[in-house]
């Protein structure tokens, strides 16, 4: 009984320690942020790595999420004889929730793991230690561009996801089931406010910061073994997903 309790306390303390380390890591990143912006070249490369390379998966998933929304929405709304509201239902659920959240989960899986594995491997093969010996700050040279690349790419990925999903829902609702295309877009137009779009973009930005931070933190602090890199990658996905969903609730409560 006592040992169980002790173990629980131990793991809780480890958790607190990790949170503290993460906050310290984030503060260090923030401190070198202004000078790090002076070198745009590596940031552009990371926008390419995290953003442009995720484009195909984001657009494919967006299309199918939209098509599913069209299908489910149509089925549900025809029960009330109000399938004109398909556009409204799709647009609002995408802008407020599905767009940012699904994009963040995909981002954690596609870009977050790549970041964590890359940094973890650099750590395991002593590349980071080599940089420190050459008096090059690895935080500024390696970590910051990767973090910023993710932060820049995320809101753009969210917007692309949402627009592709809207056309996916239109494909199913309008082309397959014959909802009037004018009703689809005009009901959407009359119900969607600019604040809905703002909510989606703010969420995208916050999730981008959270997921990128977790990915670079886990990679940078990976145990320098093959196993450690693998574990860092797994932790990145799991923690990113949980943090995204928790933040989602908080942000929704704040902005609703």
């Amino acid at each position: 009984m006592i040992t169980i309790l002790r173990e629980f306390v131990q793991s809780f303390l480890t958790f607190l320690e990790r949170v503290g380390l993460l906050v310290r890591f984030a503060l260090r990143l923030a401190a070198i942020l202004p000078t790090g912006m002076l070198r745009p070249r590596p940031i552009i490369e990371q926008v390419y790595n995290t953003g442009a390379m995720s484009l195909v998966i984001i657009m494919t998933c967006g299309l199918f999420i939209g098509m599913v929304l069209g299908l489910q929405g149509y089925d549900l709304l025809t029960r009330f004889g109000s399938e004109e509201y398909l556009g409204t239902a799709t647009a609002i659920s995408l802008l407020r929730e599905l767009g940012p959240v699904v994009t963040a989960l995909l981002f954690a899986g596609r870009a977050g793991t790549a970041l964590a594995a890359e940094l973890g491997l650099m750590r395991a093969t002593d590349q980071i230690a080599a940089m420190e010996i050459m008096a090059v700050d690895p935080m500024r040279r390696v970590v910051l561009p990767r973090f910023l690349g993710g932060v820049i790419a995320m809101p753009l990925l969210v917007s692309i996801f949402i627009v592709v999903a809207l056309f996916g829902a239109q494909l199913v609702g309008v082309e397959f089931f014959g909802v009037d295309s004018g009703s689809y877009w005009s009901q959407m137009r009359s119900a969607v406010e600019l604040s809905d779009i703002r909510e989606g973009l703010v969420k995208g930005l916050v999730f981008g910061v959270a997921c990128s931070l977790i990915a670079v933190y886990e990679g940078y602090n990976a145990v320098p073994t093959a196993e450690g890199v693998g574990r860092a990658t797994t932790r990145t996905v799991v923690i990113s997903a949980v943090v995204t969903l928790i933040l989602d609730y908080i942000l929704t409560a704040l902005m609703l």
Binding site: I44, E45, V47, Y48, G51, A52, L55, F80, G81, S82, E83, E84, Y85, A91, L95, A153, P155, L156, L157, S159, I160, I162, V163, L166, D180, G182, S183, W185, S186, Q187, M188, R189, S190, V192, E193, L194, I197, L201
Partner: protein
């Protein structure tokens, strides 16, 4: 490692695509947007009550969508709603004594304008007003009339016009 040029081009494309998506969201799916226009002409109609009619609602003849509601204004002189419709150029030859009515798609669905053709040989011109305009049927008015049983005793000026199908 790919060449920097490829990276630059793909990054540029990605960022451009992202901003295009934001622009699309802001202009096309909110009500302060701008719609893309095709070849068409305008008709106006004035209604006592348009119910829940919104801009962008379909304008149909015999169930076929031939145009959209472009604009809804309130006229302070006439105390009426002025609805501007944009009709596709394909449907130029609508007789100029056709009437316009506001119908509801489904029981709780969105509202649309239905045009019923008249017998005239002269078609409507661009910007002309539809003279015969039947108002939307407001469900609450019908229910209250039914409840207080005054619909039968007072078929006066405040009675919402019945659907033209019932008149014919």
């Amino acid at each position: 490692m790919r060449s920097t040029r490829t990276i630059d081009i793909s990054t540029g494309l990605f960022v451009l695509l992202g901003f295009a998506a934001i622009l699309f969201m802001v202009t096309q799916i909110t009500n302060r947007g701008y719609s893309l226009k095709s070849d068409s002409y305008r008709l106006t109609a004035s209604f006592e009550n348009i119910g829940g009619l919104k801009t962008g609602a379909p304008v149909s003849m015999a169930g076929v969508t031939i145009g959209r509601v472009e604009d809804i204004q309130y006229d302070m002189q006439l105390y009426k709603a002025i609805v501007t419709m944009r009709i596709s150029d394909k449907y130029r030859a609508i007789p100029n004594d056709s009437d316009a009515s506001i119908y509801t798609a489904g029981l709780l669905g969105g509202q649309y304008i239905g045009l019923t053709p008249g017998g005239s040989d002269v078609p409507y011109k661009d910007g002309e007003q539809v003279i015969m305009a039947n108002d939307a049927i407001v469900l609450e008015n019908l229910i209250s009339k039914y409840l207080f049983n005054s619909a039968a005793t007072k078929p006066g000026e405040s009675t919402p016009a019945p659907a033209p199908a019932a008149q014919e």
